[in-house]
Amino acid sequence: MSAPVAVRGGTVVDAGGSRRADVVVDGDRVAAVGPDLEVPAGAVVLDAGGCLVAPGLVDLHAHLREPGAEESETVETGSRAAALGGYTAVVAMPNTDPPVDSAAVVRHVQRLGAAALCQVAVAGAITVGRAGRQLAPLAELAGAGVRLFTDDGAGVQDARLMRRAMEYATALGVTLAQHCEDGALAAGAAMHEGEWSSRLGLPGMPAEAEELMVARDLALARLTGARLHLLHLSTAGSVDLVARAKAAGQVAVTAEVAPHHLVLTDAAVASYDAVFKVNPPLRPAADVAALRAALAAGVVDAVATDHAPHPPEAKELPFEQAPPGMLGLETALAVCLTELDLPAERVLALLSWQPAAIAGLAGPGGHGGPVAPGGPAHLCVVDPAEAWVVDARALASRSRNSPWAGRRLTGRVRHTLYRGEPVVVDGRATR
């Protein structure tokens, strides 16, 4: 049994509100929460002065690349990046090689995750090989522990197949997550279609390529009663559709946005630096503003990273040929605290307990809090005032494709506790 841990001098923040309190952890459980607690004998003391002590963050959308693309990331390096970013659980996307379309691959990734620095929840593919033709064995995958299904990287193009997947999923109590992109409208695109793509001579995809599938899937979710989660929404039209669907009721839908879509615009592509190539693409300022408004209004339920590592040689290809994707796990919380006009408590809701519920990871013994005696000791201790400059070379990820490199951010994760273990102490991973 590891030594007890005392997190002293911080402000505990969870869905129940915030209060000045120390947290004492014994084993993998929270033993006590309260002001000026006595430090148990032999305890490791972690200073949380000036910090927020929150339930560990939960990322709904991380590409850990293992198996198949270990030159980009592994479960180990990705989970270390996650822990440094304050995450205690990530949902690993199934677009690996082989893809997660059988229980054997689910169990393989789960085994890799057993030694990770955070919990690795495995998402399964909706269709065999993510090819969009035949349903993957959803019940078998659910039996192995999968709670979220997606063909992320591509949307399920065939409306009939998506309808059947949703119907089938209702009996399993799982959620289907869609990467909304009409393949025909988006074919060949390297960025958002608009003023910048026209000027730069790059093929673009219109906002409508995303919005068409958002509208279709909202209709199918209404038809089938399935739980639908919309991944990385990026346009004003998409969040407007979600707002209307939620207001009308009768559809079980949740939505996420990624930090880069809340800050960066397609103007960044003028550098032709493929670090700014991502899918869905960076959009104009009006879309960025609409996403922020949707977050503030509660239309969007979570901020998810879409952490997508790629090695430097891939990002040094010509822009049109480079793979899309950006790193995000180590910077998401800081970017949100720095850039969004939201109170820290709201930011933590969007990064911790709300995504925990969507991922099926919340509840007693799960993630997302509350921080209370007897609960699991998954904690993120963040200093909201600490300023730092992102150094891509210093990231724990195996890749370097961070769009935030060189940027000054305010808010830094000081400690992360996963199952009671201090996996990050004073901003450094302990293993």
């Binding site: 026209s198 790059l202 010509p318």
Partner: protein, 305 residues
């Protein structure tokens, strides 16, 4: 001039004027019995062409030789690229040999800008995907000025596949910078999705535009546009947007007919129109060498390595 020539936007009106002024003297050099000056003796220019282009490559290499530069030629089919070497490794290797300028042509937009970030040499964009082809725009401006004295106030019609055309992107910027009134003429499917910020008007009525044009600039039309559902057929394209003999007759006296080559006679331009007196297509090619001499001279001539 900046260290690189990547976009017409890098030059601005003053930069374009400077290139055109220097071009005058190199036109004179090109007319000599021995058309060669020692301006870039000891300097090395590499043409790095990732896309086939006989005319642009020869034009640049001729320009460099007339300036007495050493010229190396890198073409993809005979190189390490066919063995899988990455773009960055290739250009860093060449740069390490101590070259002064890299003339880069690539089928993907933005590659010259990426290369410029990796090397010590000056980079000249010799055409990148659908982005820009700045030296083409410069030679076009030079040719118009040679024939019409000034570009200020001229009405320039850029006709055809503007969406996919690097010639159009550079040309619109350059003509407009020198004071021309530019109109792009194409079916909506062959225009860029957005023309916000473009210094150009838009028309779908070629007859009306030609009747008032001082320059009719035809862009190359490629047959694959029909398979991409951008136009129903080349026949329908020619009927609506080709410079036929009937349409050429609408042009005012003294109007110029231009084309970046290679010509698709019978598609964007009728065979006989290309050979009319107002056609300056051959002059464009001739001026190309002098303009590229000016660009290389301005990039390399004054600054030692």
């Amino acid at each position: 001039m900046n260290r690189h020539l990547l976009s017409v936007a890098d030059l601005g009106a003053e930069g374009i004027e400077e290139v055109l002024r220097v071009t005058d003297s190199f036109v004179e050099v090109s007319a000599r019995t021995i058309p060669k000056v020692p301006a870039l003796r000891g300097r090395t220019v590499v043409s790095l062409f990732y896309e086939d282009s006989t005319r642009t490559r020869l034009s640049f290499e001729t320009a460099a030789r007339r300036l007495s530069a050493d010229v190396m030629n890198f073409s993809v089919s005979s190189s390490s690229v066919s063995k899988g070497e990455g773009l960055r490794d290739t250009v860093e290797t060449i740069d390490a040999m101590g070259v002064d300028a890299l003339v880069v042509r690539h089928r993907a937009a933005g590659v010259p800008r990426q290369v410029a970030g990796w090397v010590g040499a000056s980079v000249v964009n010799a055409g990148d995907g659908a982005h820009e082809h700045p030296t083409q725009a410069l030679l076009d401006c030079y040719t118009v000025r040679q024939r019409r004295g000034s570009i200020e106030g001229l009405r320039v019609a850029v006709v055809g596949d503007v969406r996919h055309s690097r010639v159009a992107r550079s040309g619109v910027l350059a003509f407009a910078a020198l004071g021309a009134e530019v109109t792009v003429v194409a079916p909506p499917t062959l225009l860029p999705p957005s023309l916000a910020g473009w210094p150009a008007a838009v028309s779908h009525d070629l007859d009306a535009v030609l009747a008032k044009a001082d320059v009719a600039y035809l862009l190359r039309m490629q047959s694959e546009r029909t398979t991409e559902a951008l136009v129903p057929s080349l026949r329908e394209y020619t009927a609506g947007y080709g410079l036929t003999a009937r349409r050429a007759a609408l042009l005012p006296d003294g109007a110029l007919v231009m084309h970046p080559g290679p010509l698709n006679r019978g598609v964007e331009i009728a065979a006989e129109v290309a050979d009319l007196p107002g056609s300056v297509i051959t002059a464009q090619v001739a001026n190309g060498v002098a303009v590229r001499m000016a660009v290389l001279y301005l990039l390399l001539g004054s600054s030692p390595r």
